[in-house]
């Protein structure tokens, strides 16, 4: 039996997929559909955008039915599994911080700061946290920039 976390996650996923399908159909308005003799650029976006929309509506309807049945059958869908929403959102914030910092100050500085931030969020403290941020940044620079010659962005503000 599905628990409440799974149902909730599936509902969010279905809504997102429906939005993606509708956006695809909206973006395909100006594209020519063509004929079976000569399929044009709009054929696949319309077919798969439509499919995405219809299937996500079906999934959503199925989930609503399950919820109703669950309520009727003595709340069978009451189970839960741990979701640390705040923690995951904070980690997502660190990811976004990485993009902003890399754009402005370059890869190395942003790596150090984001490694420190994510280590802190995960519970590392004092010298362990500093070692993680410092050694990982240094190793990354050595392996990717110095040894493998991969271009790491220097940042536009420094």
């Amino acid at each position: 039996m599905m628990n409440r976390t799974v149902i909730r996650a599936r509902m969010i996923a279905a809504l997102l997929f429906m939005l993606a399908g509708l956006l695809t159909l909206w973006q395909s308005r100006g594209l020519r559909f063509g004929t079976l003799n000569h399929i044009q650029a709009g054929f696949f976006p319309v077919v798969f955008g439509g499919l995405l929309t219809v299937l996500s509506i079906l999934m959503l309807a199925g989930l609503l039915l399950t919820l109703r049945r669950g309520r009727a059958a003595d709340r069978e869908t009451n189970g839960h599994e741990p979701v640390f929403s705040r923690g995951s959102l904070a980690i997502l914030g660190v990811f976004i911080l990485f993009v902003v910092l890399t754009y402005g100050f370059g890869f190395l500085l942003s790596s150090f700061i984001t490694l420190w931030a994510i280590g802190y969020l995960l519970g590392l403290r004092s010298w362990r946290l500093m070692m993680l941020a410092l050694f990982t940044t240094a190793s990354i620079w050595l392996i990717f920039d110095w040894w493998l010659g991969i271009y790491l962005p220097p940042g536009v503000w420094i």
């Binding site: 399908g21 395909s28 499919l51 299937l55 976004i96």
Partner: protein
């Protein structure tokens, strides 16, 4: 025709000192990331992809295939020692592997897993060596209708294999195809689904998508992971040796598992997972003492571990001979090939013969290295498996960022990585396997191009797909796979109504 000169050139390239060292580094790295807790082989291998970016094509492919096979082996260590499968394909190994650890036979279980992986890998590679060239030769005669049928049937079969719900699998495939359509239409040059944004004009690369779905999503859920408690297992070399009776009992399961895994690997879908369950079921059925299964039966480790490795090799046949990956792991190999400017498939053997045979030769070498490396170093790998997510996840995050950025030197790809990381986390919570989405992204353009070309060839009469033997047969299989569950349900309903009446 296979040219002996190219085979020898390939073997000599694989045996060069640099490539031997690269192969060793690949299998060691693969095993290390394979045993890391909470990170599956797809996420782990995609994370290491940037290491190959600046390498020579042969060396890069040898490294990534070493990581591929090492990663597949590594997953079993945590299953046996801590009852935590490193990947979905190692879940079955926990049933008897961990029981053996509790009985003080951890060393023997790990040794049998390593020997089984080696034997199954070798069987698979021999079959791959002999099967891939003739299939590729045959595929040279395939036209767009045959490729369309292969890809469509592959996606249909995959959707039946990955999830209990067809609806969810189709939904993810459709989303994958829609994502693949973003950018310039190759046939007409028209911009599609770009929202007039210059970032989307070149489309979305699939490497940040895979890294996001399988790698970064793990980081997002890092706070939900707990540290594993280490177990005290005697992993000295002396205790690693399985007894004579254990060796005798494992021989049959290893050979059967290897063959079964290879055959299942040819079928689209998560073959390395399915093959482990199939092998476990088969061994339990064949055993004279089925009641021992789940209580520490060595056959329960030998069969599934061999099947897992056989399937990993089998999955390479469609990739190397047809250029079509049918599961996420070969899809990552495909991306490694494409980064090096090599398109796997029927033309690879004529356009890059030395690379092809060097890759095959390095797989044999890597398989031997895995066995030699894994037995004496199992204690070290066991220690690595206790690495805390607090330390591991920040490193995974930064590797994913570098990997996504380095594909096109674009921060936009890091944004794509983050978006798909969030989506991967959501799918995990929704208990939806993301592989149909990945394959939708990779196979979507092939599906569109081959349908367009087939429609032109058939002058719009799509029923002509059924007049060609290969495309017709494949499409009939696809129809049967899709509609059989509906027909079966219908029959069941009629039968129950009759019995009720």
């Amino acid at each position: 025709m296979v040219d002996m000169e190219h085979i020898l050139a390939g073997i000599s390239a694989a045996f060069s000192l640099t490539n031997l060292l690269i192969c060793l580094a690949g299998v060691a790295l693969g095993t290390l990331v394979g045993v890391l807790p909470g990170l599956g082989p797809v996420g782990a291998i995609s994370m290491l992809l940037p290491l190959t970016f600046s390498m020579e094509p042969i060396s890069a492919l040898i490294l990534i295939s070493g990581i591929y096979f090492g990663g597949m082996y590594g997953g079993s260590t945590t299953s046996i020692l801590v009852n935590v499968p490193g990947e979905a394909a190692s879940v079955v190994t926990t049933l008897d592997g961990y029981k053996m650890t509790q009985k003080g036979r951890a060393g023997a279980a790990l040794a049998i897993a390593a020997i089984g992986s080696f034997v199954a890998g070798t069987i698979g590679m021999i079959l791959l060596t002999f099967l891939a060239p003739p299939i590729a030769d045959m595929a040279l005669r395939f036209g767009p209708p045959e490729y369309f049928a292969i890809v469509l049937v592959g996606l249909l079969v995959l959707s039946r294999m990955t999830d209990t719900s067809l609806l969810r699998s189709y939904l993810l495939i459709a989303l994958g195809v829609v994502i693949a359509l973003i950018g310039i239409d190759p046939m007409s040059g028209t911009l599609r689904l770009t929202f007039d944004s210059p970032w989307l004009m070149d489309g979305i690369d699939f490497i940040p998508i895979i890294m996001g779905l399988y790698g970064l999503s793990e980081v997002l859920g890092a706070m939900e992971q707990s540290d594993h408690k280490p177990v005290k297992a005697d992993l000295s070399l002396r205790r690693l040796m399985p007894s004579k009776s254990e060796m005798r009992r494992s021989t049959g399961p290893i050979v059967r598992g290897g063959l079964l895994g290879f055959v299942l690997g040819l079928i689209p879908g998560p073959a390395n997972i399915i093959s482990t369950y199939a092998s476990y079921g088969l061994e339990k059925k064949l055993s004279k003492k089925p009641e021992e299964f789940g209580q520490g039966a060595i056959e329960g480790v030998a069969g599934p571990e061999s099947a897992n490795n056989g399937a990993s090799t089998g999955a390479l046949v469609p990739l190397l001979s047809l250029g079509v990956p049918f599961s996420p792991l070969p899809a990552i190999l495909l991306s490694a090939f494409m980064i090096q400017g090599i398109t796997p498939g029927p033309l690879m053997m004529s356009e890059h013969p030395t690379t092809f045979w060097a890759l095959i030769a390095s797989m044999y070498i890597g398989n031997v290295m895995l066995l030699v490396l894994n037995l004496p170093m199992v204690g070290l790998f066991a220690k690595v498996s206790h690495l805390s997510p607090k330390v591991l996840m920040p490193i995974v995050m930064i590797f994913c960022f570098i990997g996504a950025y380095a594909v096109r030197n674009s921060l936009f790809d890091v944004v794509v990585l983050i978006i798909f990381g969030v989506l991967g986390y959501l799918l995990r919570k929704a208990k939806m396997e993301p592989s149909p989405l990945v394959l939708g992204v990779i196979l979507g353009p092939v599906l569109e191009n081959t349908l367009n070309q087939s429609a032109l060839i058939f002058n719009g009469d799509l029923l002509k797909f059924f007049t060609r033997p290969i495309s017709g047969t494949l499409l009939l299989i696809g129809l049967a796979v899709t509609f059989w569950p509906i027909v079966r349900r219908l029959f069941k309903a009629i039968r129950s109504r009759r019995t009720g009446a």
